[in-house]
């Protein structure tokens, strides 16, 4: 079972946290910090698995992570999951995000947390994997977007008139994802 899915950036700022087991808010934040601490001190090119921190359950749990440019994607799983399988799952998740957001970058995750949650929900449900087929996931997300579009038509024109906010002016690196160039 997947116990938690965490995304944070190189500075430990959480960009997504999804716990499939109940913790109170404080513990959740501590887990994020502890996980960041464990993962960020590791070199590139070491293996992608490590034993979980104390808060999340110690050596009975594994942290399986990938580091893409500015973001860490960390899955905390128990022993019933295949490590390489989860690694693939992270890849599917990121590729899906990349397709949905078109060259996804950290800012997309910041400004569209709800969308990211929705995409994730199409893959993982209650800590178990629901779907691994990227096309299927994207089909579902597309369908939802269509529904959404039809409902928010009235706002679209309004939003488009806004000077695309200050996204462009903000610093924030694209973690433009390409399978070939991605760190392992």
């Amino acid at each position: 079972m997947i116990k938690a899915i965490l995304i944070f950036n190189n500075h430990g700022k959480p960009r997504l946290s999804k716990f499939y087991e109940h913790y109170n808010e404080d513990t959740e934040q501590q887990i994020i910090r502890e996980t960041f601490h464990l993962v960020s001190k590791r070199d590139e090119n070491v293996c992608n698995f490590l034993e979980g921190g104390m808060l999340i359950g110690g050596s009975d749990y594994k942290l399986i992570y990938r580091h893409y440019a500015t973001l860490y994607f960390v899955f905390c799983v128990d022993s019933s999951e295949s490590e390489l399988g989860i690694l693939d799952l992270i890849q599917v998740f990121v590729e899906t995000l990349d397709k949905c957001f078109e060259n996804v970058c950290e800012l997309d995750l910041i400004f569209h947390v709800d969308k990211v949650h929705n995409i994730l929900a199409e893959m993982v449900m209650g800590g178990m994997v629901l779907e691994t087929n990227m096309n299927e996931i994207i089909t579902q997300v597309d369908a939802q977007n269509k529904m959404e579009k039809s409902e928010v038509m009235c706002f679209v024109t309004f939003i488009n008139q806004c000077p695309c906010l200050d996204i462009c002016s903000m610093q924030g690196h694209c973690f433009a994802f390409h399978t070939a160039s991605a760190s392992r």
Binding site: C47, D88, H112
Partner: protein, 925 residues
């Protein structure tokens, strides 16, 4: 077209997020957030009804604030309102909020359940999926109660859309995990198993998680899944990389599903049906063959996916442990991975080999990789990998390679990461002991261990070396010589001083012949360390000194001088001072004969399983070994520590507390060397002992006059009681609290009386409490309290506990108010000699009026004022209700404060009741 266009979204939200991101300091951020929270709060509270869009925007803001680590204590109601919206966007954000910020507020859960119910019956697949997701994410008991019967129906219904089926399967799984009692598969079992054959791979992917979990819990009912899984696996494995289209991931057909199928098969023994088994073996061979084929892509994803399947296949082969051919192939494959350039594969190969090492077919094959593994331990850059290498060395160790492996581990210890040193020390100590043929090697190893990593050598380790030296004559002289040499190092670890002090105190005479280690030299060497040591070590050294006086009478004067000096005899530490005083006195008063008897060499320790194994197990995670065991080993160490000042008799009989150790019986050491984890689990589970814990009658007595409180408490368990009685009926709530951090398994309680009970949960998690209700009916009067038998497994040891339940006859009292004249009239009526019971006894507790009154009221009777002519006396009246009859009781208690005595008189319409009540009450005052 990107699925999410970047333009649409909510402007207010984007502005807010940008503001936060532009905050220069944490304070500024908090300020901005508080401003926003106030804004949202006022909007939610405001008179103006918010439209769906605004609600959605604010809920999104709250989500963002929550992600930053701030508590959100409002907005739940608004989120619930969004659930009932007809608009997808609003409904969806409502569900998102609920899923992320679940609230156990039951009021709210009811509303949420309502919304879910509507969505589930909406027949709109998107809404149904949202609702199912919400159930799966929250997964509370209330939800299980509401939907556990509905979801299986959705799952197997013919007209359910595939995507809904997928969600329903995982939703059901979640409910099964939280409330297995509510999810009754029964009639659905076969249809759920057949989901493995579903056309849609996504449905199979979701269903297999459900089936795996159900199979683990009820293997027999789900047995049919084995053949279905094998045929599904076989179809996937033999398909071309293009057959499965979308489910082909980087040229590997359905890797995730294959892994899950292989995992499912690991819940069962090898298939009995020859055809199924043949097909499965074929699959496994194909998977192993594919590993040797050239990769279809250079991308790391391709090899990951392929190897994910390969590792699961190897796990299954190891799990079956019955196909020598496959096992050897698996081992060779892992051997290749040990030197793979991918760190991940090296890591996984080391991990899998650990389990492979425990198989008799492949143990030898694993051993051939020893050089590679040692090399990994030395050269891997990644500590996770090095740790796996150390684990594997431990697992593959046997008599033939122990010396090499121990030497390598010792040399690795010098540079090992701090995080794994303690575990490494324990492993070295265990291996050294387990495979020691030559005990001088063992002593060398442990002393080296203390020298290299003294800080990480726990007490258990050095206790153990002393136990072994004491028990083996052939190594004592060598040990004495070696510690003597080790102590000559200018800086040596305190643990070394402890071992040195103990061993020289016992066996210093064996090396005293050599003038270089004459008694005085030995003493001076030890004493030179004395001032640098902590109090416990000094205490041990003092004991060593007194032993020296016995061993070497020529040192007596010197040592007495040391003991006599102020820093010893007036030491501020009580223990040290006491030892100094007693030893000094002992040495000056006792004759040599007496001294020789008192300070005789320690008798051999009873052979029992090494306490360091327990320690390692404890480190490896919660489970078999408990805190008490460690405490016990410490106590055992206390005996060691005491050394000289305890008589041989105390030391030779293991203290009763040590018997609590579930590990004393000879464990199958040296049986199949297994991985650290599994071996140790075996050791402890086989060595279970039954321990009858003493029940405490003191606690029980307290309950005569009260109904609530703690009935029993020891290091493991606390039992609390709440009870209420009415007429001849009673209800008792028993609370069993697990005081440890470890689960109690097979927890059962058997009351030995005719009471109605509901069975208790068989598992009590660490720190958790479970409750049991007893319904009691009093049929006739009685004097013996019912017994309650409690059994549970704590670690390996079966705990067995028998307690008297605090059910006494007085619990069924109905108070009866009466006037003075009524009372005396009845009193006279009950004048037969048998009807009266009287006792004169000494006060054991305070004779304070209020205390006495409280006790008498607690007894259940009515306390009657102005009845007895003497206001000092107490009179009470009540009727005991049993099923068959009512027994009237009158009570008179006459305290005599001066003499601290009472006279208690009881008159009841039934003579046995008088006697029993009199006995009970005499112990209460």
């Amino acid at each position: 077209m990107p699925a999410v266009s970047k333009g649409d979204g909510m402007r207010g939200l984007a502005v807010f997020i940008s503001d936060i991101r532009n905050c220069k300091s944490k304070e500024a951020e908090i300020k901005r957030i508080n401003k926003e929270l106030a804004n949202i709060r006022s909007k939610f509270k405001g008179d103006k009804a918010l439209d769906g869009y605004s609600k959605k925007k604010y809920v999104c803001k709250l989500l963002f604030i929550f992600l930053l680590g701030h508590d959100i204590d409002f907005g739940h109601m608004e989120a619930v309102n969004l659930l009932s919206s007809n608009k997808y966007t609003e409904k969806q954000i409502g569900y998102l909020f609920i899923s992320v910020l679940v609230n156990s507020n039951s009021e709210l859960i009811r509303l949420i359940n309502n919304a879910i119910k509507n969505d589930l019956s909406s027949r709109n697949p998107t809404f149904m999926c949202l609702a199912l997701h919400c159930i799966a994410n929250v997964g509370s008991r209330e939800m299980a109660e509401a939907f556990a019967s509905e979801i299986p129906r959705i799952l197997v219904a013919g007209d359910t859309m595939d995507s809904v089926k997928q969600s329903a399967a995982l939703c059901l799984l979640r409910l099964y995990k939280t409330s297995p009692d509510l999810v009754l598969m029964g009639e659905w079992t076969s249809r759920v198993v057949h989901l493995l054959n579903d056309q849609h791979m996504g449905v199979v992917t979701a269903a297999i998680s459900l089936i795996t979990c159900l199979s683990q819990k009820n293997p027999d009912e789900f047995k049919t899944c084995v053949s279905l899984a094998v045929s599904r696996l076989s179809r996937i494995v033999s398909s071309a990389s293009t057959d499965l289209q979308d489910y082909t991931y980087y040229f590997v057909p359905a890797p995730w599903l294959s892994c899950k199928l292989l995992r499912l098969l690991q819940c069962y023994p090898p298939p009995e049906d020859g055809a199924v088994k043949g097909r499965l073996v074929e699959c496994l061979e194909t998977i192993l063959n594919k590993a040797q084929e050239p990769p279809k892509s250079k991308k790391v994803q391709h090899s990951n996916a392929k190897n994910a399947i390969l590792f699961e296949a190897i796990s299954l082969i190891i799990h079956y442990d019955s196909e020598p051919n496959l096992l050897v192939r698996a081992c060779n494959q892992l051997g290749q991975f040990l030197q793979h350039r991918e760190t991940n594969l090296r890591y996984l190969a080391l991990e899998s080999m650990c389990t492979l090492a425990s198989s008799e077919f492949s143990h030898e094959a694993v051993k051939t990789h020893i050089e590679t593994v040692i090399n990994a331990l030395k050269t891997e850059r990644d500590v996770s990998v090095r740790q796996r290498a150390a684990d594997l060395l431990y697992a593959m160790c046997d008599r033939s390679n122990a010396k090499q492996i121990v030497a390598e581990m010792l040399s690795y210890l010098e540079t090992a990461d701090y995080s794994i040193r303690e575990e490494m020390v324990l492993k070295v100590a265990i291996l050294a002991e387990k495979y020691a043929v030559d005990y001088s090697w063992y002593v060398d190893t442990i002393l080296n261990l203390i020298r290299i990593a003294g800080d990480y050598v726990s007490e258990e380790v050095w206790y153990r070396v002393i136990q072994i030296v004491i028990n083996r004559d052939d190594v004592q002289g060598y040990a004495a010589k070696t510690v003597f040499e080790a102590l000559q190092a200018p800086a040596c670890h305190e643990n070394m001083v402890k071992v040195g002090g103990y061993i020289l105190g016992e066996f210093g005479n064996l090396i005293a012949g050599d003038p270089r280690s004459s008694p005085l030299v030995q003493f001076n060497l030890l004493h030179s360390k004395f001032h640098l040591c902590s109090v416990p070590t000094r205490a041990l050294l003092l004991s060593a000194y007194i032993k020296f006086i016995n061993l070497f009478p020529e040192t007596k004067a010197t040592i007495q001088e040391v003991l006599r000096c102020d820093s010893q005899i007036r030491n501020s530490d009580v223990e040290l001072q006491q030892r100094a005083v007693e030893y000094l006195k002992l040495s000056s008063i006792a004759s040599t004969d007496v001294l020789a008897t008192v300070l005789e060499e320690m008798p051999p320790f009873p052979e029992r399983e090494s306490s360091i194994l327990a320690k390692l197990k404890k480190k490896k995670g919660p489970g078999a070994v408990s805190v008490t065991e460690l405490e016990d080993s410490k106590r055992e160490g206390g005996e060691l520590n005491g050394g000289g000042d305890r008589g041989p008799d105390t030391a030779s009989t293991p203290s009763p507390s040590a018997d609590l150790l579930g590990i004393r019986s000879a464990a199958p050491v040296g049986a199949a060397p297994a991985s650290a984890g599994s071996l140790l689990v075996d050791v402890f589970s086989e060595a279970g002992t039954t321990t009858t814990l003493p029940s405490s009658s003191l606690f029980w007595l307290l309950f005569v006059c009260k109904n609530n409180g703690v009935l029993f408490e020891n290091q493991l368990l606390q039992i609390g009681i709440k009870s209420e009685y009415r007429q001849n009926l009673g209800r008792m709530y028993l609370f069993y609290g697990n005081k440890t951090s470890v689960q109690f398994a097979s927890f059962t309680t058997t009351p030995q009386l005719n009471v109605q009970t509901k069975p208790v949960e068989p598992l009590v998690e660490g720190g958790a409490q479970i409750q049991q209700v007893l319904n009691i009916e009093c049929l006739t009067d009685f004097s013996d309290a019912p017994l309650l038998n409690i059994k549970f497994r704590y670690g390996g040891a079966l705990q067995n506990l028998t307690l008297k339940l605090p059910v006494t006859i007085n619990k069924f009292f109905q108070p009866t108010e009466m006037t003075s004249s009524d009372f005396f009239q009845r009193w006279k009526q009950l004048s037969q000699p048998q009807q009266e019971a009287q006792k004169i006894f000494k006060a054991n507790h305070s004779m304070d009026t209020e205390v006495l009154k409280a006790k008498l009221l607690g007894l259940g009777t009515a306390l009657l004022d102005n009845v007895d002519p003497n206001p000092e006396n107490y009179v009470c009246a009540g009727v005991i209700q049993t099923k068959g009859q009512q027994v009237g009781c009158l009570l008179r208690l006459e305290p005599n404060a001066q003499a601290q005595m009472y006279r208690l008189t009881l008159r009841c319409s039934k003579d046995s009741v008088s006697r029993r009540l009199c006995e009970l009450l005499a112990e209460q005052f």
